[in-house]
Point group: C3
Chain length 379, copies 3
């Protein structure tokens, strides 16, 4: 090939080649095609752009910091503990004020436990015995509280069954818990929740606290649907918003989730990016009547007496665990996702043509005629 | 233009325009095209719809609540501690029963530490001294246990090197840990893991516990591959499932991850949505022989004597930290992702045509002929 | 239809049908089309493949385990506490060494609190009284420290106002905190952060610690931009990297986030997958002057005296909470995403044709001519 041929090839490279179309004067298929086109356009504009904000670049890797602080005191006067005042330090575990905190609402206290020998609790099947050899020394009681000492303790006559003696923290905990929650007054406690968030991609920060000069606002306000920038929550209300009754929950314990949702459209003003709170019970209710209901755990305070012997106060605490979960995403206009979404939407148009072609070529009366016109046989 | 012309334009708007095709009677390219079409169809049906369930709307923002409770007692009799019974309150840290818990398996106890003066431990290079001026008063010992008091304590002759005297919690901790894990019996402890989940988008809740009337099932069962609805796990088995030996791990400590995976197809019955457990060791094993192996931490119990002076028992606890991680996603049929996926799949068909055109127009013998037929020159 | 007809139909099934194109010898539109094609190609290669690594299958479900250990001692000598040495066990809460830890930097200690009667703090408006009936017995003081006993305590003459007597943990905490942080020396403490990660999909594990034989490296090194495989961080430097001043932060407390980012390209060598650290302050600074600034919490140490009465030391701890957050993703070549991305990219080409058609048929001089050629009327 000579120079001219090369030049021609180069020029033809810039010839625009466009598909040849056949106009099928069939109004039915034409209207169908326009409807399909319109649907795709509606989907593109309505769903992809308006609802899903497809023109935005999004950041879902929210950085969040939660600080919580409880307030409230309660006075109890039980036969076991005597008059007792409970303040935050006594009833919140752990004390650090992180995003998970537990409020004691009911408790069984077993004071002055020492490492000694005593009788295993009734009702533990592995410790039922009729003679000393039923309690081999050193064997731990299955689902029990200590190791067997080798003695079988009987309360009455020789032939009755007894319970093994065990080496354990004695006296053992009583199995009975108070009929009404000891710290039912916790319903009126309040919790201050400070949540600061940051979207690193857009370098945008915000907190759930109104940046106000008015200090007294933060001291007196209470969160409600109308007052959603007040970060102080009434515990009883949190529980009732989650669809539960505080006094019922206080008896057995439970887990309440506090979800904070940040859905920020950074194309608008920063002041329009609000936290949305929602409250749910996280431990399923349907297990309420089974053995696995509620939430409780045991902990102890360890003391040492003048002789250097350790003893402890065992506390079985029932209560409500609050889990604060922060989610969020932020979006801001960006040209790349915009183009990609427009492109994909237009590519979908091909689907409309595909469907209408099917109809035109196979499902209408004159389809044979159109097929001949659409497909040009090469002789 | 008159009214007629406008009417014509309006009617022509509903004319269906369809692409004109040229039939190339080339069987090779034809078969290639059908193969490509078939592949795309297979990908669409097999991968997008069957494997990836592209016809479903998915929710990955799982809400999860984990409650754990350990059971088991162990009796130890060491020269340092004497006879001692360990129950849950003694060996689980923290006690709250959350998704991360630590079981003590080995420990070094240093009782009766008081704020006093004593000799720094041997082996700490910063505290080696030959005269008092090597120990400037008030300077903290680097990587040591206290602040120097200004005195250099020598054990023997005048010219030997000694160690600085420090103000610290004395006596200092001994560096030797027990040769066999003190609480090796922790292998037989069990942990009850209650995991309730919720998919907020579909308002679907479930727990990893069989909703059974049979209370005794939950008291006696043990989790195994065959019995995967029992929420009670044997600690030794968890460790062995993760590919480790409990007694080895108990010596130095480690971190075990318990992953609970919920993959729920809500188009099927709720009862077919099962939790899948997997167990892995999270702290890398390859560092086993380096300084950084294992997992341990120090904590103290603080006491006050009759004179009001604080003293403490320092405990260096080696043990196994269990991290329970819950993941999940749920899917349910939704028309929008279905249409989008079908659309994208069909759009991919265009790629098949693109490839076959390339072959037809450039890579076969009669390509010149087909090029002339395909491209109609406008005169 | 006879056998021959069926055979013809079957054979025609393998005829390749290709779109008929019209060559529009219009250089402007041709060049426009080539530019659009080139842009899409550039986007596909540059953005989808090079930047976004669209040829890789990715795993974002990183499994991570963090172990932290602080080192450092500080000596303080305040009028209230006397000479006192602080070691790790004293100033780190909680002691477990997890991914969130708190370092005490300032504190208000209230020793020997007992459950007694005393006067409510001045400044609590709910407890201001002028006569005994202003203090109804048993009513908790709002935002106060105890329950009213029914007496109004006045310091001076009869007509002045006084404060209610309350039943509480007495003596109450003083409201004044030290002018300079008690534990300002915490700036020189160090923290050892061990982070092991695993990408389950690719079964790839790594840690942020150089797998070195050289133990002394891990004992003496300090993390810096140049030495990013040393896992020992100077607390003061962490705070200054986050753009804050340690001594200022130590006064009021705060929350610092330590982000560890693993972005691993597993098509390259494993040794090229490095952790990236970044440090930010998580509690927003803009609230610095409001009531809600800083981070502090109260906790107590409980003691029991010879008579069996409980008393406690209340500690209001100000300090810095460090949150270690681990993120990561790994990518590895996979044929399926590669094909999908190429396909989608080619499908985008149709958009180019769509735009150029618009220009050709409606926006240039000879558009009428081209329209007639492109659309073949069916007679």
């Amino acid at each position: 090939m000579g120079q001219v041929a090369w030049k021609g090839l180069f020029l033809s490279f810039f010839d625009y080649k466009t598909e040849k179309y056949v106009i099928a004067k069939n109004k039915k298929v034409g209207i169908l095609f326009r409807i399909v086109q319109l649907s795709i356009l509606a989907y593109l504009v309505g769903w992809v752009f308006v609802v899903k904000k497809g023109y935005q670049d999004t950041d879902t890797s929210i950085q969040s910091s939660v600080i919580t602080k409880l307030k409230g005191v309660a006075y109890t006067n039980t036969t076991e503990l005597g008059p007792r005042l409970w303040d935050v330090v006594d009833y919140v575990i752990p004390p650090q004020g992180e995003n998970v905190f537990f409020v004691v609402t009911n408790l069984i206290v077993t004071p002055n436990q020492r490492q000694e020998k005593c009788r295993e609790s009734f009702g533990i099947t592995d410790a039922v015995c009729s003679k000393n050899t039923d309690c081999p020394e050193g064997e731990p009681v299955i689902a029990g509280n200590g190791v067997k000492t080798g003695r079988c303790l009987k309360s009455g006559a020789v032939n009755t069954t007894g319970m093994c003696e065990i080496f354990a923290w004695c006296p053992l905990e009583k199995r009975q818990k108070p009929k009404i929650p000891v710290l039912g007054k916790a319903e009126n406690f309040t919790v201050y929740i400070k949540n600061s968030i940051r979207f690193p991609k857009f370098n945008f920060s915000k907190a759930n606290i109104l940046n106000t000069e008015d200090d007294s606002f933060l001291k007196t306000c209470r969160y409600s649907k109308e007052n959603h920038y007040c970060p102080i929550f009434h515990l009883g209300k949190i529980v009732s918003w989650s669809g539960n009754n505080f006094q019922e929950l206080a008896m057995e314990g439970g887990v309440i989730g506090i979800q904070i949702e940040w859905d920020c459209n950074l194309d608008r003003d920063a002041s329009e990016c609000h936290p949305q709170y929602s409250f749910t019970r996280l431990d399923n209710k349907f297990t309420e009547k089974s053995v696995s209901s509620g939430y409780n755990f045991r902990y102890a305070k360890y003391y040492r007496d003048a002789n250097g012997t350790d003893y402890r106060t065992l506390i079985k605490a029932y209560g409500i665990r609050f889990d604060i979960m922060v989610n969020g995403k932020a979006g801001k206009f960006n040209i790349i996702p915009t183009i990609i979404n427009i492109g994909s939407g237009l590519a979908l148009m091909g689907v409309g043509a595909f469907i209408c072609d099917l109809v035109l070529l196979y499902f209408i009366k004159k389809s044979n005629f159109y097929r001949d016109k659409k497909f040009e046989e090469v002789k």
